[in-house]
Every structure is written in C-alpha cells, then in structure tokens.
C-alpha cells in the first residue's frame, strides 16, 4: 500500500445504521479523515466499544475493531493494549455505556493512564434503548422512564475524568470537524489515557440538546476554544475569562481598550489542574462552553510501566522444566 490512504479507505462496506441526521455520522467522518491525515496504519489501529448507538462505531471503521459488551470496553482495551502495546487503541463509549454501567471501568482506565483514546459520545440520553434519561441528563429530563422529568443530578464527564486522575481531557462537538479533528489528533499523540467528550446530537431522542452553545450563528459567543499559552478569549476577542482573586472563581470580562486589557485575561495553561477543574465545571449557559484540550499533563503510561516492571521485560527467559525443580526435589529409584 504505497498510495496514501484517504478518508474513504477507512470506511467499511457495512451499511451505517444510525438514524439520518444523527451526530455519530459526523464524528465517523471526522475520524476517517483524521486517521487518513495522520497516515494511521489500519492494521495497527483498533476501535473497541461497548454497547449503544455510539458503540456501533467500530463496524464502520476499516481497521481492527471489537464491539464488546455494555460498559466494559475499557477493560477489553486494557487487556488488548497490554498484550500488544504497539497497537493504537481507541475506545468508543456513550454517556450511558461509559458513565452508568461502565463508570467503574472508565475510572480505572483513566487513573491507570493506559495509552488509549477514550471518546465519550455524550448525547445526554440512552439512544439505543429508545431514549431513557442517562447519567449526564440534566435534572428534569423527560424520557420514557421519567415521564415527569428526571430528578437525579447529572455527572459532568470532564470533571469525572479529572477526578479519576485523567491526564488528558478535551472536548469537541460532533459537527465541528474543524475543531474536533485537531483534538482527535492530540488525543492520539498523547501517550496515556486521553479522554475526549464529544457533544453528540441524538436527533431522535434528545434533539438539539446542545443547541445553546453548538448553533453556528451564536457559536462565537457561546464557545471558548482553549489553546495552551493563549488567553482565554471568546466573542471574537471581545470577551475573556479572568480569575477573580477574591472569589477564586472565573468571571467573564469585556476585553478592550476601555475595558480589561488582554494581558489581564487568564492565559490557558493546560498543565494546570485547578484551572482545568474550573473550566470543566463552568456553569452551562452562564458561561461559554470550553472546548479543545483543557488539560494535558503527561505521565508514564500503564502499558509502559507494565512492561518496564515486568520481571523479564515481557520475555520468556526461563523454562518451565527448571521452574518445576525450584525448591526441594527428591528422587525415587
């Protein structure tokens, strides 16, 4: 295969079965293009997923793929990556798959820092099972199982990841390939567990749930794209985030000659865990939605440590015949 691969080469012959207009299509396209861009080797790339609409993803990627069981993709991915650390392993999960039934495994794959990319397609709903509320659904979400609105407080995927000691946390939007693709590339390059929350529109059961900050027309005012070393500006530079030293909270300031000088706007430091915490928990609506790489602080990956601390570096240096004879052996004649 000498010809460079195109996005098409990463598509399979399987008929894609998502509902027309589902955000998963856009993510799939973006992924296929991204992998072609970075010249990924399909033979060394594996998509591992759980169960859900989102978890159908591997069937449509012309690489290796394993559609496993509900919530457990991180565990399968861990065994796979440990068995063959050469592989580029992607985990695709949903808000139900990753944070309900699989919350435990997500916690552990992140804290262990397995070298993998975890893509959580957050549509704030259980798509596949026809629209029940999920652990990311906002209070009051009406669904077949909560006809008068859900009552339990949601979890924030990014804050959960940070709490789990994830060392790479990013956010993107399904249909915004321009910004999502660099995030996917950065996640892929990161040696460790890279957690990416992708806001995904479930057009059937939770239509336009993220419209407040996703709508193209108002995006400039409702989104803030975090870039390491750059001031946290939005609204085409007219507004920014500033740390209020008295309240220890972020606040929105007008930026300009007669307002806050740009030098006073908070500069994004992706290695700052406290800042990451603030950005990941900014109240929705009041503030723009932080997107891009919000936190990145590398450390040794689990798979690396696993091989490094293995007594013989993963090599078979001994023989069972000798091991049998360790300790006290006696002869009978």
């Amino acid at each position: 295969m000498n010809k460079p691969l195109t996005a098409k080469d990463f598509a399979t012959d399987q008929e894609v079965r998502w509902c027309p207009g589902c955000g998963d299509y856009a993510i799939l396209k973006c992924m296929q293009k991204t992998l072609a861009d970075v010249e990924a080797d399909p033979d060394k790339t594996v998509f591992v997923s759980g169960i859900g609409c989102s978890s159908r993803f591997p069937y449509y990627m012309n690489s290796y793929g394993f559609h496993t069981i509900h919530g457990r993709a991180p565990a399968f991915a861990t065994g796979l990556k440990l068995a063959n650390p050469e592989l580029d392993v992607w985990i695709v999960t949903g808000d139900g798959d990753g944070l309900s039934i699989g919350g435990n495994h997500l916690l552990h794959v992140l804290r262990r820092n397995l070298d993998t990319q975890v893509l959580l397609f957050n549509n704030e709903i259980y798509g596949l099972t026809k629209g029940q509320y999920s652990p990311t659904s906002r209070v009051g979400t009406r669904s077949p199982s909560t006809p008068s609105g859900s009552i339990d407080a949601p979890v924030s995927p990014g804050a959960f990841a940070l709490g789990a000691n994830a060392r790479f946390i990013a956010r993107g939007i399904d249909t915004d390939a321009k910004n999502l693709s660099p995030v996917l590339k950065a996640a892929r390059e990161f040696k460790g567990a890279a957690f990416v929350e992708i806001f995904q529109n479930c057009i059937v059961y939770n239509k336009d749930r993220f419209e407040d900050f996703v709508a193209k027309k108002t995006a400039a005012d409702t989104q803030i794209h975090c870039e390491h070393g750059k001031p946290l500006l939005f609204a085409k530079g007219a507004k920014g985030l500033k740390l209020n030293a008295a309240t220890l909270k972020l606040e929105i300031v007008d930026v300009g000659e007669n307002a806050t000088p740009v030098e006073d706007v908070l500069v994004h430091d992706e290695t700052n865990r406290v800042l990451a915490q603030m950005l990941l928990t900014l109240p929705m609506g009041e503030f723009p939605m932080p997107l891009g790489v919000i936190y990145r602080e590398p450390a040794q990956s689990f798979d690396d440590a696993f091989s490094q601390h293995h007594p013989s570096g993963r090599k078979r240096t001994g023989k069972v015949a000798d091991a049998l004879r360790k300790g006290s052996v006696w002869k009978k004649s």
């Binding site: 399979t12 012959d13 399987q14 399909p42 033979d43 060394k44 790339t45 594996v46 591992v48 591997p58 069937y59 990627m61 012309n62 690489s63 290796y64 793929g65 394993f66 559609h67 496993t68 069981i69 457990r72 991180p74 565990a75 399968f76 991915a77 861990t78 065994g79 796979l80 990556k81 440990l82 068995a83 063959n84 050469e86 592989l87 435990n104 495994h105 916690l107 552990h108 696993f306 293995h310 007594p311 013989s312 993963r314 090599k315 078979r316 240096t317 001994g318 023989k319 069972v320 015949a321 091991a323 049998l324 004879r325 300790g327 006290s328 052996v329 006696w330 002869k331 009978k332 004649s333």
Partner: protein, 629 residues
C-alpha cells in the same frame, strides 16, 4: 513404649495451635522430612477464616494435617491418629474428630485458666475425664523451649516463637527422622534474620528431639515406623493445586509459544493462583489485577484478542460476574481459560471451605444456548495437566474453557512426580488458511477470518496488527461465513448449531473414558469428578480388598463427556456418584446420558472421608442389606 508399625501402613498427624504458633511451618517441615524419608503423603492446611483472630480463641485455631504412609496415600486422612495441640482451644476444636485411642500431645504450659476462658472451656479437660479414651502425653513445651534457647540471648517473644521447632524436634524423633535437612532449610530461611534466631530455633529443635529420646519419657512417647512407599522411579516434589495450576498455565504458554496474560481479582480461595503467577514473569506470564471480576474477564478476552493466552480466575461469586463476558468470548470465537476455584455457596457462603457446587454454573450457567467445554482437575498435581489441556482446547477450538478446581485442591499438597516437558505435544494455534486477498471475491478477507477447521470448528486466530487482515468482531450474531452482523433467522439457527457442534467436537480430541480401578463391567461403579478422586480411590481400593467387585471411573471432561461414557456406564448394574454438592453431576449424567445414579452428596464444607464413601459402597453394593431393612 515399643515402636509401632500401623496396621494399614499409614498414620494421620494433625498439628494445631494458635494462628501465631507457627503450626503451618511445623507441618510443612514435617511433610518435607516425610518426603525425604520416602513415604507417600498428603497434606491439608486448615486456616482460620479471620486474618488475626484473637489469641487463644477456638476460631483462631490454625491446623495442618498430614496423612503419611508406606503405601499410596490419596487424601489427607479421615481422622488424626496423633494430635499435637499447642493450646486448649486447639484441643477443644479437634477433639471431636479424634478416634478412640489417638495420641494427644499437649502443651501444658498453655493449659491455664486464662486460656480456658478465652476458648470458652468450663473446666480443665484433663480433669473432666474427656480425655480418658486417648493416650495423652503432657509436656511443658513452652517451658522446655525457653529453657533450651536461654543461652542464645533471644527476646522473650522470639524465644517463645521457637516452640514450633521444639515440637517439630519431638515429632521427628517419634518418626525416626533426621534433623539435618530441616536445619539446612532453617539456615536458609533465617539467613536474613539476626543470627540468634537461627541458633535459637535449632537449639529448640534439638532440645525437642532430645527430650523425646530421654529414657524415662520415651517410655511414654510412642515411636512410629512408616517405611518407604512404592512409587515410580523419578523426581518428586511437593506441590499444592494452586501452584501446579499456575505452573500448568505457564507450561501451556510455553507449549503454545504465546504469552500468558492472567487477569484476576482477589477472592478466596482463587487468589493464590494470582500470587503464584505474578512470580512467574520469566516463564512468559504477565498478571493484571483488575478492578473487578468483570474487568478481569474482559481484559483476559482483550488479551486473547490481542494474541496472548487470556486467562481469568475466580470463585463462584466472581465467576457469576464474568458470565456476560464469557458469552462474548464464545460468540466472538476467542480463546479463554476460566479457572474456578470452587468454594461453599451460595452467595458469599463459606469462602474458606470447599465444595463442588459450580458445575451447573460452568455447564449451564449462561444466557442463551451457550455450551462450553468444562474440565476438572482431580487433585493437586493433576492441576498441571488439566491447565495444559484446558488451554489446548481453548486454542484449538477457539472458545472459552472452564477449568474447575476447588478450595481443597488449591491448598492440599502431596508428592508430585515431575513431568517431563518433552512428553507434551506442542499446543498448536490456528493459522490463517485461505486467500484473504482474493481479488475476485470482495468477502474473501472476512471468509478467511471465519474459515473454521472442519474437525475442531476452531477459526484462525487473527490478532490486530496482522497485516492486511483488519476486520471487526463483536457480540451481535454474525453471518456464519463472513462474520458480518446478521439477524437472519436461518443463520442464527446455523450459528447456534455450530456452537453446539464445536463443544461436541472436543470429544473427538479427548481420550475415551477409562476405568481406573476394577472391571469394565460389573455390579457397581463409583463415578466421580474433581477433588473427590483421592477419597474415592482409597474407598474403592478398600472395598475391592474386601472382595467387592467395584470399579472406579473418574471424569476429567464434564463437557463434553467422553464419547464412550454412556456405553461404559451402562455395563454396570449400579453407579454411585459421590460429589460435594446436592447432585449436580448426577443431573448432568441424567441429562446427557439418560442415566440415573445413586447420589452421595456432601455439602458440609469438608471433603469426603474415605469411610463415608466406603460405607456407601457397601450399602449400595447390589445384594447388600440396605440400611433401611
């Protein structure tokens, strides 16, 4: 007292004391010396369930039992002939198991009012007449020990710790054993400790020996003569089931030329396998302690998917959690070895006690039609071969395989003739067979992935990374040829049948069932599986010595059953099936062979006694007087 040669050439000794008394070391070293003396033996440790039970209590009693003989020994023994009790609690707990006439060696220093009250003993048993039927030897073991180690400058607590060595010295004398090998072992063991520890313990050992030898007392202390047991020429070592199973898995990896990836989550009595394997890295083994049993099973399947031999292990409650993932392993046609160290249940049940009650779970316990191969180890040493066989089948047929062991096998030990690794056939893996790149057929690649061997129905093992073979797998029903998702009715029928045929096909590769003792037809066969082997073996041997025409048939494969089993069993008038559950194998034989057996069920958490099986043989022997008559 003169030297005693036991009538049946064997003797059962039980060491019991407080958890902190070093009873396990004492027993282990006595077993070691037994091995060197050439006798056969079988040991079983009996630990308290509590980690640090209060000193002196009955639930803090730790014991070690050994059955040793100048003949083949198959169990740790029904009843102790000799009990060494280092405190009153140990006496109280073990007294009910002693036969009349047993020898009891007591540490009188521990027989104080304080210890009586800790063990809830109302009156000194030496005064109540409870011990009248036994040969009681009272020794102030603690005093004697302190006396012996006094010159060596040990702290009081270190000095007291030496009483297990003192006791060992006395017992070595009772059996006419050398102290030399024990001293050599201790020299190694204590090499990192302050020098006086070794000196003190050796002094205690020698003092115990000398004490027993002293003329006036040796009139009281019996000496036993147990000669060498006839065993095949070869190299031997003592091994527990957990260790043999771990080595067997490593051997399977070596035979297959693949890394073994063992993924587990701690649970009694399965944890020891994880502990052993985590020290076998140089044998091509890696271990991963997952966040729970589900993750452990999934990680093992992930590892198998990646080309390693995925192994997961647990006990019943953990196996229950793995169930869904095991179904996926089966649907995706990936190899996996699932080790179940069975314990008493249901629920948390009796974690430290043994049972064989997960047979239904292994054979039938999954959603949908999901048959799997199930193999059971018959004893500690047999775990080695069973692990190799389980792996061989998993890789040949590309399927999860259950490997059953239990709490008894895991901890019991006995001499094991070291296998010769050259005697084992390599474990072959299924290579790609077909032209994946056939340009004329767009489905050529997929068909290659699912191109199953016609005899084993195992598919090629294609791990990610293999060039030009990228494909997708999953738990949705798949087309029998291309592996594409398929909801087609006829295809699901065909796939369900294929999965059943695959397990049935294992029977083409396993040996016919053999009769281990006795004739291949007759009035009565005793059929067993798993850890009941030793007790059944001895019971059948004794029954045959009595002139009863009884056969012993021990099953290794429970699923599928050996092809000839139905015919073989139909040639006996009656089949007796002892098992440590309420009749699960009996159900299996009724289901698969239409055979009704006489059940002998025991679910007390304790292994079968030989006499229990022998009595059942006598009672059920055709023509015998039934107990009810």
């Amino acid at each position: 007292m003169s030297k005693i040669t036991p009538e049946n050439q064997s003797i059962v000794v039980r060491f019991a004391g407080d958890s902190g008394d070093g009873v396990q070391l004492l027993g282990g070293q006595f077993a070691e010396s037994t091995a060197l003396a050439g006798a056969d033996f079988s040991t079983f440790p009996d630990f308290p369930a509590e980690i640090r039970a209060p000193v002196g209590t009955t639930f803090g009693v730790s014991a070690f039992q050994i059955n040793l003989g100048a003949r083949r020994i198959s169990t740790a023994g029904d009843q102790p002939d000799v009990l060494v009790a280092l405190n009153p609690a140990a006496l109280k707990v073990n007294l009910p198991t002693l036969p009349k006439g047993a020898v009891i060696i007591l540490n009188t220093d521990a027989f104080t009012d304080r210890n009586f009250s800790k063990a809830n003993i109302a009156a000194d048993p030496r005064q109540t007449g409870e011990l009248d039927d036994y040969q009681v030897i009272e020794i102030a073991i603690s005093t004697q020990t302190l006396e012996a180690v006094k010159p060596h400058g040990l702290s009081k607590s270190d000095a007291e710790q030496c009483k297990n060595f003192w006791s060992l010295g006395a017992v070595l004398w009772m059996f006419g054993r050398d102290r030399e090998p024990i001293i050599n072992w201790a020299t190694k063991k204590f090499s990192r400790k302050p020098a006086e520890i070794l000196v003190g313990n050796v002094a205690a050992l020698n003092a115990g020996h000398a004490y027993a030898e002293t003329a006036e007392l040796s009139a009281e202390i019996p000496q036993f003569v147990i000669g060498e047991a006839p065993m095949e020429a070869g190299e031997y070592r003592s091994i527990t089931g957990a260790e043999a199973l771990s080595l067997g898995l490593a051997a399977a990896g070596e035979l297959a030329g693949r890394e073994v990836m063992f993924c587990g989550y701690p649970i009694t009595p399965a944890s020891s396998i994880l502990h052993h394997l985590s020290r076998m890295g140089d044998l091509g083994v890696s271990t991963f302690q997952a966040e729970d049993e589900i993750a452990a099973c999934c990680a093992a399947i992930g590892a198998s998917y990646g080309g390693a031999i995925g192994v997961t292990s647990s006990s019943g409650p953990g196996i229950a959690l793995k169930t869904e993932a095991i179904g996926l392993g089966m649907a995706a046609e990936l190899p996996l070895v699932i080790v179940n160290s069975q314990r008493g249940g249901p629920s948390t049940g009796l974690p430290t006690k043994t049972e064989q009650s997960d047979l239904y779970q292994s054979v039938y316990g999954r959603n949908a039609d999901a048959p799997l191969p199930v193999v059971a180890a018959a004893g500690p040493g047999d775990c080695f071969d069973a692990a190799i066989e389980a792996t061989r089948v998993a890789l040949r047929h590309m399927t999860p395989v259950f490997l059953l062991t239990d709490g008894y096998i895991a901890n019991a030990a006995g001499p094991w003739e070291l296998p010769n690794m050259d005697d084992y056939e390599p474990i072959l893996t299924n290579a790609v067979n077909g032209d994946a790149a056939n340009g004329d057929d767009p489905t050529a690649l997929k068909k290659t992935i699912w191109n199953r061997d016609p005899s084993s129905l195992g598919r090629p093992w294609v791990a990610p990374g293999a060039s030009g073979l990228a494909h997708r797998i999953g738990g949705l029903e798949k087309d029998i040829e291309t592996g594409d998702i398929s909801y087609d009715a006829a295809n699901h029928q065909a796939m369900s049948e294929l999965r059943a045929r695959k397990v049935a096909a294992v029977a083409d590769f396993i040996p016919d069932q053999e009769v281990e003792q006795g004739n291949s037809k007759g009035p009565l066969a005793v059929v067993g599986w798993g850890s009941t082997h030793g007790a059944i073996w001895r019971a059948v041997q004794m029954a045959r010595d009595e002139g009863l025409d009884v056969a012993q048939i021990h099953l290794r494969w429970l699923s599928p059953l050996p092809k000839n089993l139905g015919r073989l069993l139909s040639d006996y008038d009656r089949v007796l099936l002892p098992e440590m559950n309420m009749g699960q194998c009996a159900t299996l034989l009724r289901d698969k062979l239409g055979l009704n057996v006489v059940q002998l069920n025991k679910v007390s958490g304790q292994p079968f006694k030989i006499t229990e099986i022998l009595n059942a043989i006598r009672e059920n022997y055709p023509g015998a007087k039934q107990a009810a008559e």
